[in-house]
Symmetry: C2
Subunit: 223 residues, 2 copies
């Protein structure tokens, strides 16, 4: 058990180091020796966890995947909004999430398949919109997969613009504006009126999800 804990910790150390090196030098120019030096682990330890630079990058890319779960909402549109707002909030506050997103936006990274995060986020969005559709929350013409793709692509650009202009300071404002622009063409008016699209939503959902995750850990420890 202690060994397993140590292995998980080493893996985390390596990924954090890789995230910093990719962020500093770009995927193309980064080298495994730089990551080794930054992480302060042995070559053997690194290769035990990751076989190549691409595997390291895939590990960082996966860092933006959700570990925090948004609580179930009666409205699946609100749940979608909450997933997006939580991601925006974490992008402002969590360096690992930021590193993953930057790497997936690195159009210069040759030989690195960056489609993964786009696809995974699209699947999350598509599943939620399909549920919303079953519940009658969406306008009749909506195609869930298309709307999910538009949302994921738009979010990616909005965050990139916010980063370029002011290093994410206005990110939640911009994401809230995106939601107000996209949802009226997707959602039934009565549902639209009930949504919370405010800028503070992300922080509130984060606090809620964190509390739920901690309670889960406590009950797992007791069991």
């Amino acid at each position: 058990m202690a060994e397993q804990v140590r292995a998980i910790r080493t893996r985390k150390t390596i990924l954090s180091a890789a995230a910093r090196i990719f962020e500093e030098n770009g995927y193309q120019a980064a080298t495994i020796s730089q990551i080794l030096r930054e992480a302060g682990v042995t070559k053997g330890a690194l290769y035990f966890h990751f076989q190549s630079k691409e595997e390291l990058a895939q590990g960082v890319l996966a860092g933006q995947d959700q570990q925090l779960v948004v609580p179930e909402r009666a409205s699946k549109v609100q749940q979608t909004v909450d997933v997006v707002m939580l991601h925006a909030y974490r992008l402002q506050t969590d360096s690992m999430v930021r590193a993953g997103v930057r790497l997936s936006m690195d159009q210069l990274a040759q030989g690195l398949d960056r489609s993964g995060p786009f696809m995974r986020w699209s699947e999350v969005g598509c599943a939620l919109f399909q549920e919303a559709q079953r519940q009658g929350e969406l306008l009749p013409h909506v195609v869930p997969v298309e709307t999910a793709d538009v949302l994921v692509g738009s979010f990616a650009g909005i965050q990139s613009m916010s980063q370029a202009i002011c290093d994410y300071q206005d990110l939640v404002t911009r994401v809230s504006a995106l939601m107000r622009h996209l949802l009226p063409s997707v959602v039934m008016p009565a549902v639209l009126a009930s949504l919370d699209l405010s800028e503070s939503r992300g922080a509130a959902v984060y606090a809620e999800a964190l509390k739920a995750a901690q309670e889960l850990e406590v009950s797992a420890a007791i069991a």
Copy 2:
């Protein structure tokens, strides 16, 4: 006059070389000596036009600015759509436009101010939406600068997603979907019904703009 033509040609050669080198290595790792070699010009010629790597990058970034003008439309919303669709089409077909966009999306380019293209596109969009507003084409709640920012940010991400997933093959489809999702929350229903948001719009506008530019050149030569 011949000297001026030569200078313009040299400047173009250097920028094309810089675009290729930035695309291959990323801004961070690219060097002026690589660009010199790629362009096949003297050091003196390069420094006559560009003082630094950042100036070279700014030149490439400016390559995505419009040289082709979308003809005036009675509907300023249609004109906005045409500007976006033309840009999508050029992104698929013009390597210099592509290089500029990639560089402005290079979140790893430290010390390079990438906010320029975002701001310039926002200004173009904002001016068009303001005109549309004066003509009564927009819904009463719309704030032109906010809508322009959402459009520019969303477009940036949609193109990045299309590039990551299929190297721009589905770009015009995705941009058309973006327009169908954004405009209903912005535009009066009667205007909405009159818009051409089809995937082939970009190619048609390109042909039209190119013809107009050529006629202008001919009439300038006669005068």
